[in-house]
Amino acid sequence: MKTLLAAFVLAMLASPALAQDEKVVLKDGPGKDTVENACAACHSLDYIPMNSPFLDHAKWDATVKKMISAFGASIEPAEVQAIVDYLAKNYGG
């Protein structure tokens, strides 16, 4: 039982979003996985389409940086560019 529980807990840790949210289908494209992992750690992915399509590349960049600086999102500096590019390309305007 303990092992099962531990496995379950590990699964939850690995994919907190999948465990909680109904699936939000984001557009396919380079960077999608990175976006899903980074954003869904704190909020459901519906925030992305909801805020579209009116943010340009610079505004998505500012948004991602705000998530890091103001909200403490755990996003590696190396991931930022891929995330911003994906959002601007697929949900930009």
Partner: protein, 428 residues
């Protein structure tokens, strides 16, 4: 006991306060079922597309929004799942009091415990309080006079989605608001019992809900001492004759009549009298409007800067509820135009209705008066004299002469949108 990433991080980073707060409030929710994280039950009913989203919100919000029901709630317009943000469809505003199960839901942070009443306590403290105190619900109810007030609770960002150009955030249409009869005790009485020092400048509130990550700022809000001591500001434990719904702040929330809902702390657990301005993201830079941009009376001077200032009272506003844009009506037959109006607590003086796109205006008949903080119903009957298009508009004016704008008073956060609505009817 399910543990999460954030718990593990928190344990490593900050073993004391964070953990203590969570342990205190997680009991009931965490024990209930395996599908619970942080106490939020995830059972939801989604009814699919076709949510009555307000025209004008961003296309992505229009597509993504669905009608869905949180536990204990009717299907509402779901704008986001986690944290949950659900808007009340306009059809519910045909009644002056918004039902509890249709009342909008708004959270900033996703760790929302189901607070067990037996474990709940309200702490009165801060560096400007003489005698810190702690109340359970029984002590709160028996210790102070119980009062009732009907008041509009409106999210600062209601109608943000209609902003032009669009701005970021939860893309609310018309329904991030509701009007309820709140019962509770006066905050001024509770504060008086503990003694507020003359050095106090603000009263700060915290609720049981918190962030998923300990690196995310907790939602803490303050109001000026003078507003906290207003006899209409209460600690509410009932809403429309029932205990507060979980999603609206069970077991107690702060009611700040006239002011936007950002200050109406849900699941309130602490009230602090403080001698320095409350800091933190949610006070600054969040919930700010450009200083001097809006004709408001209430100012939050201990937080004001030359550039911006906290949002305070609601601007005067109205909503047409009986007819919808594009609706067909018979020519030469009377049409009832009905709606509601509200403001920051001065009271509605008049509502004027135009049926010709603003060329001429006629006074509507005001309905039942439930107090100056409540929705005020209004109605006007008109008869389209011939087939054609009729642009119906409604414009409320309050008792200090403030009225709605015809053009958006744009601001970066999309607050205070009180643009006069325009509903086109087709008479045939």
């Amino acid at each position: 006991m399910i543990r999460r990433n954030s718990d593990v991080e928190a344990d490593m980073a900050e073993p004391s306060a964070w953990q203590e707060r969570r342990t205190f409030l997680r009991g009931a929710g965490a024990a209930a079922a395996g599908t619970i994280i942080g106490g939020v039950p995830f059972a939801r009913t989604v009814l699919g597309a076709g949510a009555p989203v307000s025209a004008g919100v961003p296309a992505g919000a229009m597509t993504e929004a669905v009608l869905a029901a949180l536990p204990g709630k009717k299907p509402l317009i779901r704008l986001s799942q986690r944290p949950p943000n659900y808007e009340t469809p306009v059809s519910f505003f045909k009644d002056v009091i918004t039902p509890n199960d249709a009342f909008f839901v708004r959270y900033h942070l996703a760790d929302i415990p189901e607070v067990a009443l037996a474990e709940w306590k309200l702490k009165i403290g801060g560096d400007a309080v003489e005698r810190p105190a702690e109340y359970d619900m029984a002590a709160l109810k028996s210790g102070f006079e119980t009062v009732e007030i009907v008041a509009v609770c409106q999210c600062s960002g209601s109608r943000r989605g209609l902003s032009s150009p669009h701005v970021q955030g939860v893309e609310w249409g018309y329904g991030a608001m509701g009007n309820a009869r709140w019962k509770g005790v006066r905050l001024k009485d509770v504060l008086a019992k503990s003694g507020v020092k003359k050095e106090a400048i603000e009263i700060a509130f915290n609720g049981a809900d918190g962030p998923v990550s300990p690196k995310t700022p907790d939602f803490i809000k303050s109001i000026p001492v003078w507003k906290a001591l207003d006899e209409n500001t209460i600690v509410a434990f009932e809403m429309n004759g029932q205990p507060l719904p979980h999603w609206n702040g069970f077991p107690a929330r702060i009611i700040v009549p006239g002011w936007t809902a950002t200050y109406w702390m849900k699941h309130v657990v602490s009230v602090d009298a403080i001698t320095t301005p409350q800091g933190g993201f949610w006070m600054n830079p969040a919930y700010r409007i450009p200083t001097g941009k809006f004709p408001l009376v209430d100012r939050f001077l201990t937080q004001e800067t030359p550039a911006n200032t906290p949002i305070t009272e609601m601007v005067v506003n109205s909503l047409i509820t009986s007819v919808a844009d594009g609706q067909r009506v018979p020519a030469k037959r009377p049409v009832e135009v009905r709606g509601i109006a509200w403001d920051g607590g001065y009271g509605i003086n008049s509502v004027e209705v135009s049926t010709d796109g603003g060329k001429s205006w006629r006074p509507a008949t005001l309905g039942e008066d439930l107090g100056r903080y409540s929705f005020r119903p209004w109605s006007l009957r008109f008869t389209p004299s011939k087939p054609g298009s009729y642009a119906v508009m409604a414009k409320a004016t309050n008792r200090i002469g403030a009225t709605q704008t015809l053009d958006l008073n744009f601001n970066p956060a999309g607050y205070h949108n009180n643009v006069v609505q325009r509903v086109n009817l087709v008479a045939a």
